[in-house]
């Protein structure tokens, strides 16, 4: 869409940045238990873009710019070969794109160029959410305690991503590979989700990898 103000919100220099979990880690030293059943890891400062528009129009542009086919089926997730870049279906006209830190503005510009005069929107939400990876033998149990969505491998195979109720918040839950889950969490709810995860995983032992 032309007549939209593009704005790179990432500074050129290197001022100190704080991830949404900075306060949580500061307030209480993150647990590191031997033999933990569950491990958490924050992947902070990634580029997050929300794409809105028609699937056909967006698909062409996303393929061209990102080399990933837009996942057209509801609640699916597509990753590039390295697993660093992903596009996830959020709604029939909405996708979440996550790319390595710093790529998001160029990506947005290139998409805008590719999309030209079509009706669409691209919104940079990189500061507003973070990604928490959950792994370990009891990761699925912890998710069962937290979300009403069925996380059984039959119902939630690798390559799925769903916006779900998570305790009293909502998160985007994804399964990029066999041994890990990802939670895309809103910044202001990040501490709550983090404390919930520690509490729910308490009986299995929990470690926070940094």
């Amino acid at each position: 869409m032309s007549d939209v103000r593009e704005f790179d919100t990432r500074p050129a220099g290197h001022p100190s940045a704080e991830s949404p979990l900075a306060w949580s880690f500061h307030r209480q030293a993150p647990p590191r238990e031997a033999g933990a059943g569950v491990t958490l890891r924050e992947h902070a400062f990634l580029g997050h873009l929300v794409l809105r528009g028609g699937a056909i129009v967006l698909d062409e542009a996303v393929r061209e710019v990102l080399g990933i086919a837009l996942p057209a089926r509801p609640n699916t997730l597509a990753l590039d070969d390295g697993g660093e870049r992903s596009v996830q279906w959020l709604a029939p006209d909405e996708w979440l794109v996550i790319v390595p830190a710093g790529e998001e503005f160029t990506l947005e510009s290139r998409l805008r160029q590719a999309l030209g005069q079509a009706h669409f929107s691209i919104v940079n939400v990189s500061g507003g959410q973070t990604l928490i990876e959950l792994s370990g033998p009891q990761a699925r149990e912890v998710l069962m305690k937290s979300t009403t969505y069925d996380v059984h491998p039959q119902a939630f195979p690798v390559g799925k991503g769903v916006t779900v109720v998570f305790a009293k918040a909502s998160v985007v839950l994804r399964r990029p590979r066999e041994d890990a889950w990802e939670l895309v969490v809103r910044r202001s709810f990040a501490d709550y989700c983090y404390r919930w995860l520690l509490d729910a995983a308490g009986e299995y032992g929990v470690s926070v990898a940094r």
Binding site: P15, S19, F45, M144, Y192, G202
Partner: protein
């Protein structure tokens, strides 16, 4: 068989308890021992404890009557420490653990010698059903005193007085087939479904799975039934598509096959959850299950017979006797009389006899009982008295004899003389009631079946019931039915079933049962000794009869009038008997009397388990801004705004003394008015709007005009509902011709976004526009005050010149090296810049501002100061100055209403309704107290005439009121009827303490009415 010396009723062998593990426990202060595998009830019976409680209304001694969830009497208070108290635990469902401490819930000074019992004996006669309603009315003034004593006498256990040390949680589960009950039918159903590849959950409320097979006399495949149970459980446990949940009760069956299962994970280990590997365990867990198919294999509850004094300790249901003997190796007495209407109950007598104790007689209501079990009893030389029933138990604290007579159940009379049989135990059985509780939770009406004399579940999509729950009692048929139910469930899911071959069980020939509920007595029901129907609530047959005489004819009326079925057992033993008595009194049939409706829970569940982790620190999310840590470290006090924690004010410590809120706010206010202050405004809702029709859309949802707002400009807007009432406000900036950034109130953010989507998706899908929340992406810092420009200029590349960057403009550039959008809008009336940066860099920018701000005495302020400053400018807060009944016109904001916009924007039509056109509507004004020292109370009511009598005519109220450090006096905002035409009038505010404040109606703008300060 011999008996263990310390546990007089414990058999030397038999049952499934581990005699090598002795567990000590305390009941009513006395120490006892039992074995691993015992319940508290079986251990008490093993120790010969007869009286476990006193009844609630008549204070009669009560003993254990049943062995499971249906037990009405043995309700105890558990817990060794105060915080670990658990009220109202059913001893029959509490596994024994070492150190268990329990006591009776009623009885004073104790259950053995209860003084209240004396009162009960005397006053019982004066307590017919509904007696509360018929007395304690005079004098009216004494009712509250009467009530205090009534309350003292009621209730069972005590609530703990300390917070719970334990933790609980939830697990959400999904499955193809949920099987409730792991008896023969449930095991068969689960195995069938599991072999077919379905995701199966099998739960059972007992300590061990197996249900009736745990005390069955019938061999399966030629071996004891428990072996088949073990094999089947092993097979199920080996399949990864099966989840086995022992000690787990299905408590509630909700719509669309949602079932709650309560798993008691540690209650069998202690009164507080132990740790494992140093990690705290969950005391109990609630599984929230969404099942595609539900198989109810919940079995039956045996119905006791209703005869006189059937509540004296030593009266048990027949099946419980078998359970205690066969499963726990406990014989609950020495001399048994069994009163029965059916063959199945003969097991109790056979088990008793085999345990080496005396069966005095079997009293059978039938004329010619001739089933296999009957023959076996006769062959053992047990006396069988036919056509008869126990009509009365004798004994005070323990049964001493049974009075037996021939009866005519049809005519409800005795048909022969009464014989008294000395005994200490009476077991009775009036047949079996399928456990239909769960199916009726869903609103499914149960169906009465004459052939089984009981209700069975009605039909419901996605539900099958099997075995005893379906009125099928013979073991081979039960297993076959379970296999069938499992297959049906699998097929209903569109898969093919793989039933397994049923094990070999020799069928037992049973004779026909007869219908038998209340037993006639020599005296009419109202004069006979009490014949109890609901033991927990002391409801007797006589009580039910009185109720029907008084016109309480519907079963619901009878239940409510007598409180039958309202106990913690929900009438599992008594309800059908009660209905039969109502039917007898009204000369109707049981199905004519009605069905009983059961509600969740099947058995009570601790609040803690239902709450799960949603308590303490996790009760509700606390939302933080990116600057939260800084606020905490500065010692801010916080205000809850929605789920956000916002700094309320920043008290400083001056000379070792912490400022009060008043002092801190005064200082913060002056800092803004005189130098420069800073507010974390990140919580404001922010919505990114893109699309060629964005502008048109804004024009429809805001009351004012948006057609001409140019890129680089900002405008304030009001949002109404279609009833014309204000719902939110905020500024919206034009970022590009087709690109806007809307702000909302903190509390309104989610609602406004949904509101926009609602209108877009349902009414105006043709408009090309997208909305996305960017609330969390941007951190917002408001730098405001006369020095704001100087401060900001030090760290930005944006031209802050008054002309280059006008009031209500926004600009883009860097602040402290971070890309920022800066908005020149003001909620304080001062020169203000709202800096928006990506939230990850907010702390850097904030701290840089403070590094440079030191020389300007940059002062952080919180929401309280923000409120004062905006109020001095007459700026509203939606939700404080408005309450859902205020229009923009009421606020005097006609300047923000586009009356001539081409589209009839939301809320416009409502402004011309007769009520919204009234001139005496409450209108938004300022109030200036006559006494400058007075700060009016927010919420104070306004009257025009202070001398009128109560009830007074009220003409408005104070919405906001503060002390203004700038004005040096109190001031307020208010809504007053016709206020806009009453400028200068005096109004009165009568206060609770009798003082009446006077105030003048003035413009709501108290400072800088021309707006010069924000425009510099």
């Amino acid at each position: 068989m011999s008996q263990s010396p310390s546990q007089p009723n414990r058999l030397a062998q038999g049952g499934q308890v581990d005699r090598s593990r002795t567990l000590n426990f305390t009941f009513n202060g006395k120490r006892y021992s039992g074995h691993a595998g015992d319940t508290l009830a079986s251990a008490l019976l093993a120790n010969g404890v007869d009286i476990v409680n006193r009844s609630f209304k008549y204070s009669r001694p009560r003993g254990i009557v049943a062995a499971g969830a249906e037990e009405p009497n043995a309700v105890v208070q558990l817990g060794a420490s105060e915080a670990a108290q658990v009220p109202n635990v059913r001893a029959t469902q509490q596994a024994l653990y070492d150190g268990l401490t329990a006591r009776s819930t009623n009885g004073w000074p104790n259950v053995q010698r209860d003084l209240m019992g004396m009162v009960g004996k005397v006053s019982g006669a004066f307590m017919p059903p509904g007696f509360y309603y018929k007395t304690f009315m005079a004098p009216a003034s004494l009712w509250m005193t009467y009530e205090k004593y009534i309350r003292k006498g009621a209730g069972l256990g005590n609530s703990p007085t300390e917070a719970d040390p334990d933790h609980y949680d939830h697990m959400n589960r999904h499955c193809d087939v949920l099987v409730v009950g792991a008896g023969p039918a449930g095991l068969a159903a689960a195995l069938t479904a599991a072999r077919s590849g379905s995701r199966v959950i099998l739960c059972d409320e007992q300590e061990a799975m197996g249900g009736s097979l745990l005390d069955s006399r019938e061999p399966i495949d030629g071996a004891p039934a428990v072996q088949w149970v073990e094999r089947t459980l092993e097979a199920l446990g080996a399949m990864d598509n099966v989840t086995l949940l022992p000690r787990t009760t299905a408590n509630g069956y909700h719509d669309h096959n949602f079932v709650t299962l309560h798993e008691r994970r540690t209650e069998h280990l202690g009164d507080t959850a132990p740790t494992r590997d140093g990690r705290r365990q969950v005391r109990s867990r609630l599984h929230r299950v969404r099942a595609r198919q539900v198989v109810l294999a919940t079995g039956t509850h045996e119905r006791p017979l209703v005869y006189a004094n059937n509540d004296v300790p030593g009266n048990l249901v027949a099946g419980a006797v078998s359970t205690y003997i066969r499963r726990y190796g406990v014989v609950p007495g020495n001399r048994l009389v069994l009163s029965t209407s059916n063959d199945h109950a003969y097991r109790a007598a056979l088990d008793w006899h085999e345990a080496g104790r005396e069966v005095v007689a079997i009293v059978d209501a039938r004329a010619n009982p001739d089933g296999e079990l009957v023959e076996r009893a006769r062959a053992l030389g047990i006396r069988v008295i036919t056509d008869s029933a126990v009509i009365e138990a004798k004994g005070a604290n323990r049964v001493s004899a049974a009075r037996v007579a021939k009866i005519d159940a049809q005519l409800f009379t005795l048909a022969g003389r009464v014989e008294e049989l000395a005994c200490d135990t009476i077991a009775s059985s009036g047949g079996y009631s399928p456990v239909i509780h769960l199916s009726s939770h869903t609103g499914t009406r149960p169906l009465w079946r004459d052939d089984i004399l009981g209700f069975v579940p009605g039909t419901l999509k996605g539900m099958t019931s099997a075995g005893g729950a379906q009125g099928i009692y013979a073991l081979p048929a039960v297993i076959a039915d379970g296999i069938d139910a499992g297959s049906q469930a699998v097929q209903a899911n569109g898969q093919s079933a793989e039933p397994f071959e049923a094990p070999l069980v020799a069928p037992i020939r049973e004779g026909e049962s007869v219908a038998l509920y209340q037993i006639p007595h020599e005296k009419p029901t109202l004069r006979a000794p009490k014949q109890f129907v609901d033991l927990q609530n002391d409801v007797s047959a006589a009580g039910i009869e009185v109720a029907t005489r008084e016109g309480f004819e519907s079963i619901e009326h009878v239940k409510r009038y007598t409180v039958m079925g309202f106990g913690t057992d929900q009438g599992k033993l008594g309800n059908i008997n009660g209905m039969a008595i109502v039917a007898r009194c009204l000369r109707r049939t049981i199905p004519e009397v009605g069905t009983t409706v059961f509600r969740p829970n099947y058995t009570p569940v601790t609040f803690g388990a239902i709450v799960g982790r949603h308590c303490r620190e996790l009760f509700d999310p606390e939302r933080y801004t990116a600057l939260h840590q800084w606020h905490v470290e500065q010692g801010a006090e916080f205000e809850d705004v929605g789920q956000w924690k916002r700094p309320w004010y920043f008290p400083r410590t001056v000379n070792g003394k912490k400022e009060s809120m008043h002092e801190a706010v005064a200082r913060e206010c002056l800092a803004v008015r005189e130098r420069v202050g800073i507010l974390d405004a990140s919580t404001l809702g922010k919505i990114d709007i893109q699309g060629p029709d964005a502008r048109e859309f804004l024009g429809r949802v805001y009351t004012n005009k948006w057609a001409k707002l140019a890129p680089g400009r900002v405008r304030y807007g009001l949002m109404c509902k279609d009833d014309g009432m204000l719902m939110d406000d905020g500024t919206t900036s034009c970022l590009g011709e087709n690109h806007f950034l809307m702000t909302t109130t903190t509390g309104g953010a989610a609602g406004v976004l949904e509101w926009l989507e609602l209108w877009h998706q349902t009414e105006w899908p043709e408009l090309d526009v997208y909305f996305n929340s960017v609330t969390d992406h941007w951190a917002t810092m408001t730098v405001t005050g006369p020095d704001a420009r100087k401060l900001l200029a030090e760290i930005t590349d944006i031209d802050l010149d008054r002309e280059a960057f006008k009031f209500m403009d926004w600009r883009e550039g860097t602040v402290a090296g971070v890309p920022a959008r800066v908005f020149r809008i003001s909620f304080t009336g001062e020169l203000s810049f709202e800096i928006n940066v990506q939230a990850n860099y907010a702390m850097h920018v904030w701290k840089t501002l403070f590094e440079h701000g030191e020389k300007y005495q940059l002062t952080p302020y919180g929401t309280e100061t923000m409120h004062v400053l905006r109020a001095e400018k007459g700026l509203i807060i939606v939700g404080q100055d408005t309450d859902g009944s205020v229009t923009p016109e009421d606020l005097g904001m006609q300047w923000a209403i586009g009356y001539d916009k081409p589209f009839a924007w939301i809320g416009k039509r409502a402004l011309s309704r007769s009520d919204t056109r009234r001139t005496d509507r409450k209108q938004f004004v300022g109030l200036k107290p006559k006494d400058p020292k007075v700060v009016l109370e927010e919420g104070a009511q306004i009257v025009f005439d202070p001398k009128q009598a109560i009830p007074m005519v009220m003409s408005g109220h104070v919405t906001s009121s503060y002390y203004s450090p700038s004005l040096g006096q109190g001031f307020a905002l208010a809504v007053v009827k016709g206020g806009h035409e009453r400028m200068g009038d005096t109004v009165y505010l009568p206060m609770v303490d009798g003082t009446v404040h006077e105030a003048e109606i003035v413009s709501p703008v108290f400072i800088d009415p021309k707006g010069e300060r924000q425009n510099v």
